[in-house]
């Protein structure tokens, strides 16, 4: 169907998209620290010193909005968006890939393109008059938050192409290739048979815990 060159190009593109999405997703993930510290600071100065800040509220939703929008493509590349997969999971990977391949064109790209194009127009208007938040007299600028819509759309578009390529790969090879990541939910790690540091350290603290009884022979 394809020459080796095309397959290699696809692999390169998928890797590029995964890394791009992960880079942006992880970079903006740190907004949670800004949020935690900023809002925590507000609570302290307001309750203890009676001097509320004029910026903490705006900072909190700007950070939250940026965080989840910019994380959309990262989540997509790690297959983290919810699916109603009670039928899907019964299919063979090849069937899954075929159905998904078609659905990406009907149910992914139209919405994402609208995000990109119209989001761009919306942001341009906001930049045009240097829009600021109406929540406080501090005049916190929010045009950058409006640009996030278009930026998230662009990232999703790039990642979406990689996902379509994944479908093509899966249709040819018969199995899915997932993005490698060092970050996984605890239950995913544990169910894969990895050990939990969280559990091991109890013994070191001198507390008598019945160690998890995991036979070496029955588990890899």
């Amino acid at each position: 169907m394809f020459g080796g060159g095309v397959a290699a190009d696809m692999n390169r593109y998928i890797e590029f998209a995964d890394r791009l999405s992960a880079w942006f997703g992880k970079a903006f993930a740190w907004a949670i620290m800004v949020m935690t510290i900023g809002v925590g600071y507000e609570v302290i100065v307001r309750r203890l010193l009676g001097a509320p800040t004029s910026w903490a509220f705006d900072v909190s939703y700007i950070m939250y909005g940026t965080l989840f929008m910019m994380g959309g493509a990262y989540t997509l590349s790690r297959n983290g968006h919810v699916r109603g997969d009670f039928i899907y999971r019964l299919w063979k990977p090849r069937t899954q890939a075929m159905v998904e391949f078609v659905l990406y064109f009907i149910f992914f790209f139209p919405g994402v393109i609208a995000l990109m194009v119209i989001g761009w127009r919306y942001a341009a208007r906001s930049w045009g008059y240097g829009e600021v938040s109406v929540n406080s007299p501090a005049g916190i600028p929010i045009y950058q938050l409006k640009s996030v819509i278009a930026a998230a759309g662009i990232l999703l578009f790039i990642q979406g192409i990689a996902q379509v390529m994944r479908c093509i790969k899966c249709m040819r090879e018969g199995y899915w290739t997932f993005a490698p990541d060092d970050i996984e939910e605890t239950e995913v790690k544990l169910m894969r048979g990895e050990t939990a540091e969280v559990l091991q350290e109890a013994a070191a603290e001198g507390i008598d815990v019945t160690a998890p009884d995991r036979d070496g022979e029955t588990r890899r």
Partner: protein, 472 residues
């Protein structure tokens, strides 16, 4: 087809599409935009500039440009972007990443094994002591992290083998872990209630206050069941051998002071700040996250790797929940604009059913939806269909929300899609059969039902705290 018929077709098509397994957030987005394009299609308005250009005899290039541009003049696009922005600037949803972050940090704070070990000793004279300790650990740990999968798998590796070693009945032990771990989505500060508050417009503070007693009622029912069953049928929960059970009171107190109380105080501080109006839920969540960091540092568990993990998992889970909101906000407004909401309201009010029958019917539908779907989709997409009907039947959305939250406990426990059971099966020794886990969960499922009936018959269980705190 009339507009309302289109709306119903839209809903039907959506349900069909999600069964194909495509990510739901994007399906909602694309369907909202596509059906919205139809709903807001207005040829006069969209090609006004083009017609003006024709009248003015503009050059061919301008004509082509304005004609093509006309296709993008549909008002759905403005609606779509405005709805997206309103999700981004939603001050209720800001609490989600903060509570998730707190949860991921606490999950990694080396606390769960200590907690279970201490509680096992503290509860050693109670019948079914290990089961009781496991349930209390699950309840407290699940309340503070809110992440069902993590609680079930961690407790499945910690308490479950211990119970099996003590020759507990496999089904009984698995039921305790699964049901206990699932409590995290009910007892405040739970993410599920924030999501319900954002979709229903009910105050999150009042929802939290309303969910307190029902949450502890359910946990209490579980506890009573464990003790009573262990008393009546000692073979399911044999007493541990005597010799390891002796420990001085001072040592026990010290253990409790270093494991149970710090976590309990963190939770009570967060909830207290919310209930007494010292801080908004988002602010309390931020303080809770700081508290979680301090706790992790105190347990010498705050490593760079764990912080990174918590931060990156927070962004992934937040994106998962909030992109659903982005999709559903546009979808829902288009659905309502086409008159879909009204058709459903008219249909249901035309059925001539009593409020109780409506309540039973709606809870049954939500229960059934819980088989194939997860709580996120159910609350963000399907519960809003019932919300406009509540005033007609005189049902308080707060009360309805608590019932839904109780009901969705079953979604994790009942086959075919019992996530809690799958998590446990995933880490349990191979001789533990899925069927045994399911069988062990049945008594707990029935207790959820009992709790729902109790809440319905005695509404003060829900209303006592909100009334006391906010004089509703």
């Amino acid at each position: 087809m009339t507009d309302p018929q289109i709306a119903l077709f839209m809903l039907g098509a959506f349900i069909f599409i999600i069964m194909l397994g495509f990510p739901i957030a994007f399906t909602l987005m694309a369907m909202g935009v596509a059906f919205g394009y139809y709903a807001y299609f207005d040829a006069d308005r969209m090609w006004r500039t083009y017609h003006r250009a024709v009248e003015n005899g503009a050059d061919t290039w301008t004509l082509v440009e304005t004609w093509v541009g006309g296709f993008f003049n549909n008002r759905i696009f403005d609606l779509f972007i405005n709805q997206t922005f309103s999700v981004m600037a939603n001050d209720v949803l800001t609490a989600i990443p903060l509570f998730l972050f707190m949860g991921y940090i606490v999950e990694r704070a080396n606390i769960v094994s200590r907690l279970f070990a201490t509680l096992s000793i503290a509860a050693r004279h109670v019948p079914g002591s290990m089961g009781v300790a496991a349930l209390i650990t699950c309840t407290l740990f699940a309340t503070s992290t809110g992440i069902v999968g993590a609680v079930v798998t961690l407790m499945g590796l910690l308490a479950f083998p211990a119970m099996l070693k003590a020759r507990y009945n496999i089904g009984f032990a698995s039921g305790i872990i699964c049901a206990g771990g699932t409590l995290g989505i009910l007892i405040p500060p739970s993410i599920m209630l924030i999501v319900y508050a954002a979709t229903s417009g009910v105050s999150i503070v009042q929802l939290y206050a309303g969910a307190m007693f029902p949450g502890f009622l359910l946990s209490g029912l579980y506890l009573v069941y464990i003790v009573v069953r262990s008393l009546l049928q000692p073979s399911v929960a044999p007493k541990p051998p005597k010799e390891e059970a002796d420990i001085p009171v001072g040592r026990l107190l010290f253990l409790l002071l270093t494991s149970f109380f710090p976590l309990a105080i963190l939770i009570l501080a967060v909830l207290g700040a919310i209930f007494f109006g010292w801080a908004t839920p988002s602010e309390a969540a931020a303080v809770g996250a700081v508290g979680g960091l301090v706790l992790a540092a105190a347990y010498r568990a705050l490593t760079w790797q764990r912080l990174r993990e918590s931060v990156y998992l927070t962004v992934r889970t937040t994106a998962m929940v909030c992109w659903l909101f982005v999709g559903s906000s546009t979808f829902a407004s288009v659905f309502a604009y086409l008159g879909g909401e009204q058709v459903i309201t008219e249909f249901v009010t035309g059925l001539d059913i009593s409020p109780l029958e409506f309540l039973l019917l709606s809870q049954l539908i939500i229960f059934l939806l819980g088989w194939p779907l997860e709580w996120t989709e159910i609350i963000i997409i399907f519960v809003p269909i019932f919300l406009p009907l509540l005033p007609h039947f005189g049902i308080d959305p707060l009360f309805f929300g608590i019932l839904v939250a109780l009901n969705l406990q079953t979604a994790f426990l009942s086959p075919p899609m019992a996530m809690s059971a799958y998590y446990l099966k995933g880490i349990a020794p191979p001789f533990v059969q899925l069927v045994e886990i399911f069988r062990g969960s049945i008594p707990f499922l029935l207790l959820v039902l009992v709790a729902m009936v109790l809440v319905y018959v005695f509404p003060p269980i829900v209303y006592y705290l909100p009334n006391l705190l906010y004089a509703r």
